[in-house]
C-alpha cells in the first residue's frame, strides 16, 4: 500500500485495478552535496533523485540575510556621535543586530549590561534608527528629504508605559471598570427615555394650549411663527394633508385615514359611534371640516389620556421607591395620593375612555404594571408588619 502512495497513484482505480500497473519507480541516491549558502566546504549526504541534475543545494536560495548598518570611522566621528553612546556601545549594538537579525527584544535581552550599561528596547531602537537616519541624510544630502522618518522613542516609551499599566491592573479593578461602564450605559439609556417622554409631553401640552388659543381667536390671524409652531405640534395630527391629485369626491375627505396605528384609528371610530356621529356623515363642505376637526380632537384626547396613564404609573413607581427608601416621607406620599384622586375621575363627557383603551389593548400594559406595583406595595406592607410583629 505504501508503495502506491509513494509513487503518487491512488491505491484503487475502480474495476481497472487489475490492469493498473506500477509506473517505473524513480531511483534516488544517497549523495553528498554542498550548500552555497554556507561559506565553508561542508559536505553532507542526502537523498537526491538520480535524474536531478541541479548542482546547487535547492534550499540555498532561501537563505536571506538582512542588511545591517555599517559605518566607517570617518562617518562615525563625523555625524554619528551622540551623548550617552560611546563607540564601543554602538559597535556592540551593531554586533547584536547582526547576530539577531535586528530582533530588538532579543538584542536587549543579550545586551552586555556590565560593560555597556543597562538599556531598554527603546534606547536600542532609538540609537539604531538615528544612525540609519543620519547615514541616509549623509548619502542623500543632494536630494531634499531623507527617505525614512525618525523613530519616535518617547512616544514608544509612553505607549509601553500605558500598556504596562493596562496589564498590571488587578482583576477587581478590571471588573469594577466593566461594572461602571455598564452602569453608565444604563443611565444613558434611562436619560434618553426620559428625554423622549418629556418631549412627547411637551408636544401634547403645546397642542393643548393651541387648541384653547385657536378656539378663542381667529385662525386666519396667526403669525408665521405661530404657524410654524403649529406645524410642529401637529406632526401627530393627520387630516390637513391634501388628497391625491386629481378629481375626488368630497366624502373622500371624511374617509381619509388617520396617520396613526390601526388600533388608534379603530378607537377613534368606536368613539365616533359612541357619540352617535357615525363614521360617514353627510359630506357637505361644513360637515366634512367639522368631522375632521372632531376626529382630530378625539385623537388628541386619546393621546392625552395615554400620557396621563404613563405619568400616573411613573408616580406610582416613584412613590413605591420612596416608600422602600424610607418611611420618613409620609407627608409626601399623602400628597401624591391626593394627586391620584384627582386623576381617578377619568370619565370625560360620560365616555368610558378607560374601558375603551383597555379593550383596544393600548394601555393594558400600563395598567397591568400599575396593578403589579400596587400588589408589590401591599406585599411589602405585609412583610413590614410581619417583621414588626416578630420583633415585638
Amino acid at each position: 500500500m505504501t508503495v502506491w502512495f509513494q509513487v503518487g497513484r491512488r491505491p484503487f482505480s475502480g474495476p481497472h485495478f487489475e490492469q493498473a500497473r506500477l509506473p517505473e519507480v524513480r531511483s534516488w541516491q544517497w549523495k553528498p552535496f554542498k550548500n552555497s549558502a554556507r561559506n565553508d566546504n561542508l559536505s553532507l549526504l542526502h537523498w537526491k533523485r538520480c535524474d536531478d541534475t541541479s548542482t546547487d543545494y535547492p534550499f540555498a536560495k532561501y537563505s536571506v540575510k538582512r542588511e545591517i548598518l555599517k559605518y566607517t570611522d570617518e562617518q562615525y566621528n563625523g555625524v554619528l556621535q551622540q551623548p550617552g553612546w560611546t563607540r564601543a556601545n554602538t559597535d556592540h549594538l551593531i554586533d547584536l543586530a547582526n547576530r539577531f537579525d535586528l530582533r530588538f527584544i532579543v538584542m536587549q535581552d543579550r545586551w552586555d549590561k556590565q560593560t555597556h550599561g543597562a538599556r531598554t528596547v527603546e534606547d536600542l531602537k532609538d540609537r539604531y534608527y538615528s544612525i540609519q537616519y543620519r547615514l541616509d541624510k549623509l548619502r542623500d544630502s543632494e536630494s531634499e528629504k531623507p527617505k525614512r522618518p525618525l523613530y519616535d522613542a518617547d512616544h514608544e516609551r509612553l505607549r509601553k508605559e500605558q500598556l504596562e499599566k493596562l496589564y498590571s491592573r488587578t482583576r477587581e479593578e478590571v471588573e469594577e471598570e466593566e461594572y461602571l461602564i455598564e452602569e453608565l450605559r444604563k443611565i444613558e439609556i434611562r436619560r434618553k427615555e426620559r428625554e423622549k417622554k418629556q418631549q412627547d409631553l411637551q408636544r401634547l401640552i403645546k397642542a393643548a394650549d393651541q387648541l384653547t388659543e385657536t378656539g378663542s381667536s381667529n385662525k386666519k390671524k396667526k403669525s408665521t411663527a405661530n404657524k410654524k409652531k403649529e406645524e410642529e405640534t401637529r406632526s401627530w395630527r393627520i387630516l390637513d394633508k391634501p388628497l391625491n391629485a386629481g378629481v375626488s369626491l368630497r366624502s373622500a375627505k371624511t374617509k381619509q385615514a388617520l396617520q396613526v396605528g390601526l388600533k388608534k384609528s379603530k378607537l377613534v371610530e368606536q368613539i365616533l359611534t359612541q357619540l352617535q356621529v357615525g363614521v360617514s356623515p353627510m359630506p357637505t363642505e361644513d360637515i366634512t371640516v367639522q368631522f375632521n376637526e372632531l376626529r382630530n380632537d378625539i385623537l388628541f384626547l386619546l393621546e392625552l389620556k395615554i400620557a396621563q396613564e404613563t405619568l400616573q404609573f411613573d408616580i406610582q413607581a416613584l412613590k413605591h421607591r420612596k416608600e422602600t427608601l424610607g418611611d420618613q416621607a409620609a407627608a409626601g406620599t399623602d400628597e401624591a395620593e391626593n394627586d391620584d384622586d384627582m386623576f381617578a375621575d377619568t370619565d370625560i363627557m360620560g365616555l368610558n375612555l378607560d374601558e375603551a383603551l383597555v379593550t383596544a389593548g393600548l394601555t393594558s400594559s400600563c395598567s397591568r404594571k400599575r396593578r403589579a406595583a400596587s400588589e408589590i406595595e401591599k406585599v411589602t406592607a405585609l412583610l413590614k408588619k410581619q417583621r414588626k410583629n416578630s420583633k415585638g
Binding site: L42, L44, H46, Y57, V106, D109, T170
Partner: protein, 412 residues
Amino acid sequence: MSGSVYGGDEVGAVCFDIGSHTVRAGFAGEDAPKANIPTHMLTGDDNTKYHIGTNALSYPREKAEVVMPLKDGMIENWEQCEAMLDYVYSKCLSVDSAEHPVMMSEVAWNRPAIRHKTCEMMFEKYNVPAFFLCKNAVLAAFASGRSTALVLDTGSVQTTAIPVHDGYVLQHGIVKSPLAGNFLAAQMREHLKEQNVEVVPTYKIASKEPVKEGEPPKWVAKKNLPAVSSSYHNYMVDCVIEDLMQHVLQVHDRPASDEDLNMIPANIFEFPNGYNAMFGAERFKIPEPLFDPIGTNLRILGGDMLAMQHVVSSSISMCDVDVRPSLWSNIILAGGTTLMSGFSERLTTECTAKTTSSMKVKVVTGGNTSDRIFSAWVGASILASLGNFQELWISKQEYEEEGKLVVDRKCP
C-alpha cells in the same frame, strides 16, 4: 529532498536530548527517538567502567554506585557523558559517529565553558562532520510548530519557565522552581512511610504470592544477593515509587476541599512484592503543592518553591510588554511530570485567575500527550531535517579554523 517534514531534507543527523532523568536519542526526521534510556548508570570495574541501560541497572552488583553525568541539567562528569554517548552510538543506534551530523539539546542556562567543552568533545572524540547545540525550550516550541512561546518544562529535578521569542530564549525571563518529579517522589516516599508501607525493590524479590488488598505481602527474598550500595537500593526504590506515581497521581481541576477529595474514586496499586493498597485522597493531595505550595503542609522544604502558575506569570512579567500577550496565549508544556492527568486544565484555571479578562490565556496541549516527554527531541528532529537549517551547522572545518569558541557565534 524527501522526508516527513515540510520543506525537509534529511541528512542523516543524530539528535540527542540528555535530561536528568532520561536520555533520548535517534535520527532526525523520525517522529520518536530510537533510544529512551535512564540517565543514571552503575559504576563498574576496570573492564567496563559503567553499566548503562534499563537492563544493566536492574542487575544488582556488589558496591556499584548509581551515578549520572548531569548536575542542574548541565553536563558535569565528562567521562560518564562519553560513556553514555558511546553506549548510544554502539548499542542503540549502531552507527559510526563520524558519518552523522549531531544536534544536541542544552538547558537554557548552560554555562559557556560547558558549551565549549561539549563542542570540543563532539568534534575531537566523536569526529562528527557537523554539530549544533540548541536550547531545549526552543526545540520544545518548534515541536509544536511555534517560534514564540512560554515553555513550562516540569521534568524530574526542577520546573522551569522559559520565554522563547522568534526562536531565541529570552535569558532574563528564565524562572525556576524545585517543584517537579523528584519533589513529588519525595512526598510519596514520606506518605508511604507514614502508612508503614515498606517499598521492596524488584531486585530483592525471588517470588511472590497474590494477597488481598491491604494484607501483608507474601514473598520470598532472593538469596545470595551481593552487597549493593545504598545509592543503588535507593535508586531501585525510586523506580517503584515512580511507577506508583505514574499510576495513581492526578491533579485536581481546582483547589480541592477535603470533601471533594473524599469523593474521588480510589486507585489500586500492586507493589513488586505483591502488597497492594488503595490510594484515595492522596492521589490528589500529593501533587497539589505544584499549584499551592503554601496551602499544603509541606514535608520537604527547599529554596524558592514557586507554584507552576507563579513560575509562568513571573517569567512573563519579566519580558517586554509587547511580547506578553503572545506568551500568555502560547504556554507550552514539556517534561514528564506535566503528563499527570489534569495538569494542563489546572494550569489553565490558575493562569486565567492570574490575568485580567482582556488577556487571552491558552495552554497548548496539541497532539499526543506522551509526545510531551519527547518534545525537545522531536523539535531537534524537525530542526535538523529542515532544508533551510543545513546552512547553520558548525562544520568540522569551521571548528578547526575557529576552535571551540565557534559555538558562541553559531549557536545562540
